[in-house]
């Protein structure tokens, strides 16, 4: 019988990361889609960096930044009581940074493609920016939002290098499925590693299939 805790921990991490990431990404994507600011390309580049950098680079800098020996890490632990290194909270923070492009990009592109006249029509009808965003803009990019949610969720499940760098391998705290698989292989427990792997494979396959299925169906409906 296998230990279920790494699997449960993985999905907890993915779920919490996705929710927090969504809340953080929506304002960021909205700003990026509307602004003409000169720093926009810089921000866009930073958001996209996790796509090209090895996770170890992000992991390394987080490790340095969050270390209690550094000012930032010391500040967090002294004033906020947050010990982010080798803890579940730290993994959530790292995962948010790591999956940022997967959430921001689809939402930003959806907002950019919406015609300006739709937004303006809502303003002229007396509706505030927030009402317009929640009732008009967001519902009309729901496929993009769904894509962002699912990709971030699946991508977080697939994390390895980053978790290893700043989370380590603490059971029930940071020992997620990908780490557990590595660990079991190191210990030559191939059958346990296989079980974990099969579960991850099946779950992510079903999630992605669902997205393609739903998006395909919606596209047909819209462009009939």
């Amino acid at each position: 019988m296998i230990e279920w805790s790494p699997i449960i921990l993985t999905f907890q991490l993915a779920l919490i990361t996705t929710v927090l990431l969504f809340l953080a990404s929506v304002p960021l994507a909205y700003w990026l889609s509307r602004t003409n600011s000169k720093i926009k390309p810089v921000i866009e580049t930073l958001v996209s960096m996790p796509l090209v950098l090895p996770p170890t680079v992000i992991g390394f800098y987080l490790l340095v930044a969050l270390s209690p020996r550094n000012q930032f890490g010391a500040f967090l632990s002294q004033y906020l009581g947050l010990e982010l290194l080798f803890s579940f909270e730290g993994l959530v923070l790292a995962s948010i940074i790591y999956s940022l492009p997967f959430m921001v990009h689809p939402i930003q592109s959806g907002l950019t493609l919406l015609p300006d006249s739709i937004r303006e029509a809502s303003f002229v009808l007396g509706k505030s920016r927030i009402t317009t965003f929640l009732k008009v803009e967001l519902p009309n990019i729901k496929n993009n939002v769904l894509t962002g949610l699912v990709l971030s969720f699946a991508h977080t499940i697939g994390e390895f290098g980053l978790v290893l760098m700043i989370g380590g391998n603490i059971p029930d705290e940071t020992r997620v499925a990908s780490i557990a698989i590595y660990d079991e292989v190191e210990a030559l427990n191939y059958s346990t590693a296989n079980t974990y792997s099969m579960i991850l494979f099946a779950v992510t396959f079903i999630i992605l299939l669902g997205v393609y299925f739903i998006n395909g169906k919606n596209l047909n409906k819209t462009w009939r």
């Binding site: 015609p115 006249s117 739709i118 303006e120 029509a121 809502s122 303003f123 002229v124 009808l125 007396g126 509706k127 505030s128 009732k135 008009v136 519902p139 009309n140 729901k142 819209t222």
Partner: protein, 293 residues
Amino acid sequence: MALIQIDLQKTLHGAGGDLSLDISTGIDAGEFICLYGASGTGKTSTLRMVAGLMRPDQGNIIVNGTPWYSSSDSINWKPQQRAVGYVFQDYALFPNMTVKENLNYALSKQQSQSMVTELLEVMDLIDLQHRKPNTLSGGQQQRTALARALVNKPQLLLLDEPLSALDPQMRSALQDYIIQMHKSYGLTTIMVTHDIGEIFKMADRVLELADGKIKQSGPPTILFSSQSVSGKFQFTGEVLSIVKEDIIYIISVLIGNNMVKVVADEKEASQLAVGDKVLVASKAFNPLIRKLH
């Protein structure tokens, strides 16, 4: 006193270079104004500045004695505060909502549903009320957009080439809807259009824009004749052909969907070419009238 006093200056940066827009006019309550002119002369920009969707460089917009925009007093009402009725060229219906939901969305907080019900009825949208915009024809979408613009009971209705994408029959039907709404809700309407027939049918007054300035302003006939004709009846149409027969010329003119033939002398014919917009009027003779059955 005029309902709306507009005095706006704005430099527009377009594809064909900069255009300095300088518009000044007064519009009376209940007037139906058409903004006419070539593309890129600032018609849509003028409409957008009145609605608050574009900020002028300087000037004033005063409605009913209240400044909506005044550069000298730093007043610039948001589009939400101005709450004009605005129909966009691409309709701008919300794709996630049905026809009825589009109208309901426009309701202000204290407003009852009755206005939505009424508009669905007068605009013949009852049967379509549960459909999403992307399942509707162009004319049906346009009717929805027009109805939605009127839910808030605006004083001022702004129409940005609302009918340009429709076929002639649909166009004519929608012109009737717009006239009906304009009259029954006591609206003051400003419509951007390229179509001369439309102007004749709908406008009380036309403002012709050229290079960002008002070139002329007056009844629709000013567009086509330097000296005004006080004809007993007059129509505008388009020259289809000019044929010489002996010493006279037969000019075929398309008026609405009918073709009429007009006799012209050589001097008149020489000033015309196929495709010209012309005014056909009769003065000395009483036209015959017969009932069609």
